[in-house]
């Protein structure tokens, strides 16, 4: 029996406060920097619509499959994790992510992605901060 956890998004209610993005950056990198966040909100001003890019923690992750150095794995929660020590910075994961949800931190020369705030008592911070429910944690136990 395994469980699946992922963040589901509802971009129709997003209002671009960026609290999720800034919270992510502060939690993971101790800095208020949208470039260092593990998710992105991109606004299309012409249509007043928002794209929310965050890892879907796919069942059969293409990023993981295409990683030439076995630097990614699915943990017991079903969360896709990058093993930084094994990562050769080739960028294959980023190129193969169908959701544009893997980012390169140029300051640290590091590929980063959502890890559902592993170890955080209240779960993913972005979900906690979102005032409109545009980000929700979905948990499913599979038998």
């Amino acid at each position: 029996m395994g469980s699946i956890k992922r963040i589901v998004t509802n971009k129709k209610v997003c209002r671009d406060c960026q609290a999720c993005v800034l919270g992510c950056s502060i939690y993971h990198e101790k800095e208020s920097n949208v470039q260092l966040a593990r998710l992105k909100i991109i606004k299309d001003m012409a249509r007043y619509e928002f794209d929310i890019s965050i890892c879907k923690h796919c069942k059969n992750p293409k990023c993981m499959k295409e990683c030439p150095s076995d630097a990614m794995y699915l943990d017991e929660r079903g969360v896709v994790i990058i093993i930084d020590e094994k990562c050769t910075r080739c960028g294959a994961c980023q190129e193969n992510c169908p959701f544009d949800a893997i980012y390169y931190n140029s300051q640290k020369n590091q590929y980063i992605k959502c890890d559902l705030c592993v170890g955080r008592e209240n779960g993913p911070l972005c979900v906690e901060l979102c005032p409109v429910g545009a980000l929700r944690l979905k948990q499913k136990v599979e038998g």
């Binding site: 960026q18 800034l22 260092l36 007043y48 901060l129």
Partner: protein, 648 residues
């Protein structure tokens, strides 16, 4: 470890085409940022005899240490300059802008921008991290604010943030805005016209840095705690929950449901955020709140054309770069004209209840065509122009509607909002002393408490006595009378200077009253006081520096005093402020109370004395300037006093 500030300011001279990045410390620490820092910069950078459209007038854009961080509602930007809207003559004032521009400016590495000079032809300022260029804007000139932003985003990045003027700014309409995003704006102060006078169309900024945060864990702890308080606007709990399910955000990092913000929908289904007064166009039938009758003044109800027409009109107003507030004074004034049988002015027909006429009138305003040219000078200046041509009742009406040095009347107990005694008295003190209508600075500090009072007077008075004792050491501070209100007015002004400087949104802070989530909890509470130290904790978490209340109040007082000195430079004095007395002789719409001129003059004495200003001119005394370490301003103020005496 220091955080919050980026440490650099941009100085741009459009006449010379020069850009310079200067280290912004240590003055930034003495003034924190935002409006307080801008007051300091204005006193230094704008020379005393500068007029509004002189190239030497500066546009000052500042952020604060919290801008660009996760601190709730902190995505704000301050703009100051000499304002063309101010009547009878332009003087220095400020606007604050919500949205996403300030954060992006900091991500590019700058705490603010000081712009002077006048470009020979239309330009925009292009900031991409440390690369700052003055670029040709000949292809943007004439475009509306929405199209300009869409084009610049296409050119630079979808993540870029933009301040821009619309046609109204280009044509120096006195209430032209500087627009940002959908409807964030430096709205009231007419700074769009100053941009237009400088041939400055837009500033586009894209940054890739971050804002350092000294104690990130502390900040996160504070933010998640505040997040539990769902409502930013204390009005929220007075209304049934669930009435309004969609709340727009008008600023980066705003995690609250704010009862001032909603969405409207364009005919094609596109969502349009509406904030504050924009909601009166796009969502609710609020226009009727203009209706007022008393003291010989009759203001008709404004006319809402129905949401199908209003939402596009609202977007048009923002796109043209007109202050949304103009509608709330001009439409009822025109309706009153028609009620008195006036159907045309100078040969131009007026049909204020016809949406097509109104739409056309907005275009005329922005392009200064036909009737629009006259009213682009704003209602109060149009009254001077039309005196003798129209019934005096209409002229008097126009003057009352913009009684406060040309700004649309509100939050003074007569027009638009309801503030019973003592709230309008506190507001009157703010009106006599500040550079512009105080509405921008008192959304949550005191005057919205009027809503509690109107909702249940007996309960509110009991609660106010406990609150007043706690905050001002005087249980009578909010008693419905005329006595001893100066400390509350001054406290509110200083709190709002702090909020405008660190910065936060004045719909959410200072949290004078706890943001109750429902009416029952409020009704059961004796002590309704909120947490008044959230600002200090956020500031310390981000900057890593310890600020205490006394220190930060002193910074606020120093900045407010500098703003007052800027007014003295422009020749504003007690005599001009005494002229506001007639407005407060009109009966308060909530309770019918009013004050005669003698009482108003006493109120002025009380306020000036509490401030440490002289009673003759209402200017800061030498002792006050010394106590605030503003000694360097003393020679100039003495000179101004001599000049003033010479003119008398």
């Amino acid at each position: 470890m220091a955080g919050g500030w980026m440490g650099k300011m941009l100085y741009i001279d459009l006449s010379k085409g020069e850009v310079e990045a200067r280290v912004s410390q240590p003055s930034i620490r003495s003034y924190i940022g935002g409006r307080a820092l801008a007051a300091h910069l204005a006193w230094k950078e704008i020379s005393p005899d500068t007029d509004v459209y002189d190239p030497e007038n500066c546009i000052i854009i500042t952020t604060g240490p919290l801008t660009g961080t996760l601190a709730p509602t902190s995505g704000r930007t301050v703009m100051t300059s000499i304002s063309p809207r101010v009547y009878p003559k332009p003087w220095y004032t400020h606007s604050t802008i919500g949205g996403w521009f300030g954060p992006q400016l900091k991500y590019a590495g700058f705490d603010g921008i000081v712009i002077r000079g006048k470009a020979a032809s239309p330009v925009y300022i292009d900031i991409r991290d440390e690369s700052v260029k003055i670029a040709d804007a000949s292809d943007l000139w004439g475009l509306d604010a929405r199209k300009t932003q869409l084009l610049l985003k296409e050119r630079v990045s979808q993540e870029a943030q933009i301040l821009t003027i619309g046609p109204a700014g280009e044509n120096r309409v006195r209430f032209a805005t500087v627009q940002h995003a959908e409807e964030n704006a430096a709205g009231h102060s007419g700074f769009g016209a100053v941009w237009g006078s400088k041939n400055l169309k837009a500033i586009v900024v894209h940054g890739t840095r971050g804002v350092p945060v000294a104690y990130s864990d502390t900040l996160l702890k504070e933010v998640t705690r505040i997040r539990e308080q769902k409502y930013s606007n204390l009005l929220g709990f007075l209304y049934d929950k669930g009435d309004h399910k969609e709340f727009a955000a008008c600023s980066q990092s705003c995690i609250f449901d704010c009862f001032g913000n909603f969405y409207g929908y364009m005919p094609d289904g596109r969502r349009v955020p509406a904030n504050c007064i924009g909601t009166s166009w796009t969502v609710a039938e609020e226009m009727h709140l203009t209706k007022y009758s008393g003291g010989g003044i009759e203001i008709p109800s404004s006319n809402n054309f129905g949401l199908e027409k209003e939402v596009p009109l609202h977007e048009l107003c923002n796109s043209l770069g007109l202050d949304l507030w103009f509608r709330l004074v001009m439409q009822p004034w025109f309706i009153r004209c028609t009620q008195l049988g006036i159907t045309e002015i100078r040969g131009y027909p007026i049909k204020p209840e016809d949406p097509s006429w109104f739409e056309n009138f907005m275009h005329q305003l922005a392009s200064r065509q036909d009737l629009g040219d006259l009213f682009a000078e704003d209602l109060i200046r149009a009254m001077d122009e039309l005196e003798g041509e129209l019934p005096q009742e209409l002229i008097d009406l126009g003057r009352e509607m913009e009684f406060n040095f040309g700004f649309p009347a509100h939050r003074e107990g007569r027009f638009w909002d309801e503030e019973p005694l003592p709230f309008w008295v506190i507001s009157a003190m703010m009106h006599i002393s500040a550079s512009r209508d105080p509405g921008i600075g008192h959304h949550l500090s005191s005057l919205l408490l009027a809503e509690l009072f109107l909702n249940d007077q007996d309960l509110a008075r009991k609660q106010f006595r406990i609150l007043s004792e706690k905050v001002w050491g005087d249980p009578e501070a909010y008693e419905p009378n005329f006595k001893g209100k100066a400390p509350v007015a001054i406290w509110s002004q200083h709190q709002n200077m702090i909020i405008d400087s660190i910065p936060l949104c004045d719909f959410a802070f200072p949290q004078l009253v706890y943001p109750f989530s429902d009416r029952d909890t409020w009704k059961r509470s004796e002590d309704i006081s909120g947490d008044l130290n959230i600002d200090l904790r956020l500031l310390s978490a981000v900057t890593g520096e310890r600020f205490d209340r006394e220190q930060i109040n002193r910074i606020a007082e120093r900045a407010f005093t500098l703003e007052r000195l800027m007014l003295a430079r422009a020749g504003r004095s007690r005599k001009m402020e005494e002229q506001l007395a007639s407005h407060f002789q009109l009966p308060c719409r909530a309770d019918g109370t009013w004050m005669d001129k003698t009482a108003f003059l006493r109120l002025m004495d009380e306020y000036y004395t509490a401030r440490g200003w002289d009673l003759e001119l209402g200017w800061p005394t030498e002792d006050l300037l010394k106590s605030l370490d503003l000694d360097e301003a003393i020679p100039e103020l003495n000179q101004l006093r001599m000049q003033f005496a010479g003119k008398k």
